[in-house]
Symmetry: C3
Subunit: 458 residues, 3 copies
């Protein structure tokens, strides 16, 4: 069928149809189910006779905006490190996140804030939806360059649903604490993407090897992503925590953890680098592992020292992962992980979950005082001991890994549907597959791609 | 006179003189008229025995900073898509906005907050001044690359004054609601710029055609602008609304609208693109139309579904505009619209005004409860029915279009003054006209421009 | 020893060892001394029975995030203007700031918030640590491209300590006011760096002259830094001021000052430029001088006019400095100032200190009302007259200059230690010294650097 007019027409219509279909379906579900909550509805808010200063907006919106920046600027530009895939990295991040936040509003709404037949929305639903978009973008990082936009849309649809269910099981059924999402976001997103990438394994991917690296300025664009992720990560972890000391402590712990992971990343990168030189891949990614590793525990009594130690460990593990484990992952396990999400989100996410087990297990009434109610309500109410909370935390990690693996497998099978038009092995990491690329650039490119080629190669 | 030393000296002095003159005049007017308001003056604030938490600063400053980012980062980099005009796009945005916010503080101050012989300033005047700068930058987008900095400064001086008057007529005299400025900012800025561009029509502009496109990395710089505009647009529309549920609901509606316009933009761009490929111009611009289209109505009871539907429509109309209407606008109407502001701000702005008419006309005491007073005070106080409010809203649109057209015509005539030193047709979209450009770049450029040429061509 | 295997091994281990050593030492000191303060500790916060809205987090965290953005994005990208030093500019900014904020938390903690044997941390310590990182990055700007990462780490360790002591002398012992740090941050950072650069003077630096300029896109990356510094400077100056009118007024004054310095910078740049053209170096830097010059006085009754006048002056002085003084500084004073920090931070910092002297000397009970207590507590309590406060302010400037000069000299001597592996004169401003640089870039570069060369040249 390759090269046939029917195929060309199919390609032309696939993405538009999918986008329009999803958008129309979402809009209908919004019309039926989604309503303003008592903080965004004028009648409800004014009926309550609240002071405006009490509106949740003023406590969480600045954090939300930082999270929003991380999702769209941070993830988008971080993935723009590839020399010929910047349009797709930033553009598909934009598309996937815009879809995920609508769809996730529905899924999370049905599971978390559905009452009287309606989903109620406000700044908390915005934060949660952006968090879910973050998980989708982590998975995107694993398959970056090897999947078309139609495939990615389907992946997002599936992943958002499973993310919501996994999150519901952990937070609502198991009473697990995971404010910054070491488990629900990072572990889930990473292993979902990695398993999916395994199912989509391409033995001939080296045909696109020459496009898999960066160029000088693409690395600088990627650093925009890195730095915005780094500076706003304290807001990410603290966005959904309890008000007052909760948000404050969470931001502080994350800030310390990140600063330590930055130092250990520079140290390890120079140590394992050729001739003592630093590697941009490590700096762009592993320096962020400090944010991931305290996702679960930064709201707890981690202590400033604990935050530094955790970040130090995460930066170390992540850098070593890029250097030594990523090649093995491809050669032995047949997992092609474009952005190394296993090193940035996978291992640090699991470490973060285990750190949460440890810190939860050490919780005492003494250390938390009356604040115990906010961080560990079940312990404060006497329904659980610290030790059993720790066991639940550990169980949450296993549930997450299971959901991610099964979901990623399903997702991989789904994305292998032939009409989804995956890029051929020789055209991976190439913007021209999906974008009008400015002409002079095409002339420069190694092996430019003519329109006829596109059809015959597919 | 071309090429004469006198001309060269004139060029050298024109911009400095204009800048200095404007700055000195503004400073004198500030000395005479501008004073701290009761929230920024220590004596007034402490005399009132307020709680610090009540200071407007804490309710609006985070939103202000997001707006500030949009104006300087968003607009500046969005316009940097041109291959050889990045310095001018970012630099003149910087200059024009820095001028506009001072000058607008005076104009808006005289019209809105002048009492006891003084203008009183604080965070609200900062937000309003940045909004006005936004309108100026929209107009800048229509004439980008075809006007020199001296022309742009004069344009800004005129436009800020007319913006203030139009805004005063709408908000204060007609009682029109337009928090996010679908009319006062987007419609006004777009049609002011388009009419001005019409008056400055250049039949020989194709002499600069080769510089009118983007290159690979200039498109990525432009995406920095797009994404920052997109993520902070909820703050833009909500920055001046009433506190509490007002700001909260406005931000939420804008967030939904933008996510829908992103999906419809991707869908339409692929549908109308050659071979189903996406066009960066659409993604960079039309995806933002969702923010424009709810500028008037996002503080109202638009409902989440309404926001999605509006955004969907705006993204669709805007993308189709770029594909089909922009060429006609130039060939038939002789309007050369560099950034396509007609598609991003013009049509979505008018649609947004009409949507405001509709949603205002549907306002009921039931839907808004006691919040009606904040959104539609004249209806709440019984001075107007919802229907008559709708008619006023519609009238506001016509007033805006009139002010913009007349103002744009005047502006165009003003900018044709010969001593303002417009770039020649062959040197449009070229940074070297105004900037020292690093040498190695000149070598690469198509048809580099030597200093002698500059004089003889003018 | 050059080129020997021992030297190569040394280079390879130097940076890792330093990073790890510092990180381990810091972590141990954190374990012993650093504790949550009463706003981040759950037991302490809940024991106090506070309203969550009272938590300092909600008053200062948005400002902190803006400061954080300035430090990591602003400084990092501003210094990326060099054509071949973008990785180092952004990367070493990242490393130095991550180190400085930990180390500064300790130094400032011992001096400012040490009680009961512990340092107490929260959002205020985060802001102060970021401020100190800012001073370190200013000094980095003076020696950019001429120092390796190991040298920079040692510089940061020394500078952070001296910064803390100088700040303690000024704010705590002398009762000097300097919220935005015209003295403690800008003057100190600039002259520390300049004196250090003098000690490290390289007579043969012209061997690297060809890499000292920018290229087209590196100038655009630098503008990202400039614009983020510019938009968030109001938050920088207001982050540590008293709540309520204090923060509000400080932000407003800074906003005006910056807008005026932008206009005067454009005016002067065109005036002194060849053929009336603008110079990116001026726009990127001098336009920011308005933020520096009101660092001390923006919390005082500077008045909006005063802010405009100060900014105007600062932009003028700074631009003229770049044009006329920087060459003299190198040729006559043997100070090689890569980023021109003398023009952006040095002179405007001193001007800002003097402006603080003036505005403090004019303070009256009438003008400040009960707010005098917040701005000038010693005057309000009758311990000082406005005039004597002014004299203390002036004395603070001298103390700062002395600390900076002595500290910079010491730092310079320290950095000349031979094992610190400074780059050779011919390899300054070159990322390949420290980074794996993507291959295709190396081919393009003028005089690429092979691994063997590195060893033999050192």
């Amino acid at each position: 069928m390759a090269g046939s007019p029917r195929r060309a027409a199919g390609r032309r219509l696939l993405l538009p149809l999918l986008c329009l279909l999803v958008q129309v379906a979402t809009a209908i579900l919004f019309a039926v189910f989604v309503r303003y909550d008592h903080e965004t509805d004028p009648a409800l808010w004014h009926w309550g006779n609240h002071s405006n200063a009490d509106n949740e907006f003023y406590f969480r919106y600045p954090s939300f905006q930082d999270v929003h920046t991380m999702v769209f600027v941070g993830f988008g530009f971080l993935m723009a490190f590839l020399q010929r895939y910047g349009f797709s990295s930033v553009g598909f991040t934009f598309l996937l996140a815009a879809l995920a936040l609508q769809w996730s509003t529905l899924v999370q709404g049905f599971l978390h804030s559905f009452h009287d037949g309606h989903i109620h929305v406000g700044v908390e639903s915005m934060i949660n939806a952006d968090f879910c978009a973050g998980a989708v973008l982590i998975s995107f990082g694993a398959v970056l360059g090897k999947t078309g936009p139609a495939q990615l849309l389907l992946m997002a649809l599936l992943e958002v649903a499973l993310f919501g269910i996994n999150e519901f099981v952990l937070l609502s059924l198991l009473g697990v604490r995971d404010a910054g999402g070491s488990m629900t976001i990072h572990t889930f997103g990473a292993y979902f993407g990695l398993v999916l990438s395994r199912v989509l394994y391409r033995p001939q991917l080296e045909k696109s090897k020459h496009r898999q690296g960066s160029i000088y300025h693409s690395d600088l664009f990627a650093m925009i992503g890195t730095i915005f992720l780094w500076i706003f990560w304290p807001s990410f972890n603290s966005a959904p925590t309890t008000l007052g000391d909760g948000q404050h402590r969470t931001a502080l712990n994350t800030y310390y953890s990140l600063s330590a992971s930055t130092l250990s990343t520079f140290a390890l990168s120079a140590l394992v680098g050729g001739d003592g030189r630093l590697d941009m891949v490590h700096i762009q990614n592993a320096a962020l592992a400090g944010g991931v590793v305290v996702g679960t525990s930064s709201e707890m009594m981690l202590t400033p020292f604990g935050a530094l130690a955790a970040g130090f460990l995460a930066g170390t593990v992540s850098t070593l992962g890029y250097k030594f484990f990523t090649p093995v992952l491809e050669s032995k396990f047949k997992v092609q992980d474009t952005c190394g999400v296993h090193n940035l989100h996978g291992m640090p996410g699991v470490l973060g979950a285990l750190l949460g087990v440890l810190v939860a297990g050490l919780a005492t009434h003494e250390a938390y005082g009356d604040g115990l109610q906010s961080v560990f309500p079940l312990i404060a109410e006497g329904q659980r001991s610290a030790r059993s909370q720790a066991i639940y935390q550990l169980f949450g990690l296993f549930v997450t890994l299971m959901f991610a693996s099964v979901g990623g497998s399903l997702g991989g099978l789904l994305l292998r549907l032939p009409f989804l038009d995956a890029p051929p092995d020789s055209q991976c990491y190439e913007d021209q597959m999906y974008w009008e690329v400015p002409q002079e650039q095409e002339d420069e490119a190694q092996g430019p791609l003519r329109a006829e080629e596109l059809d015959t190669q597919a």
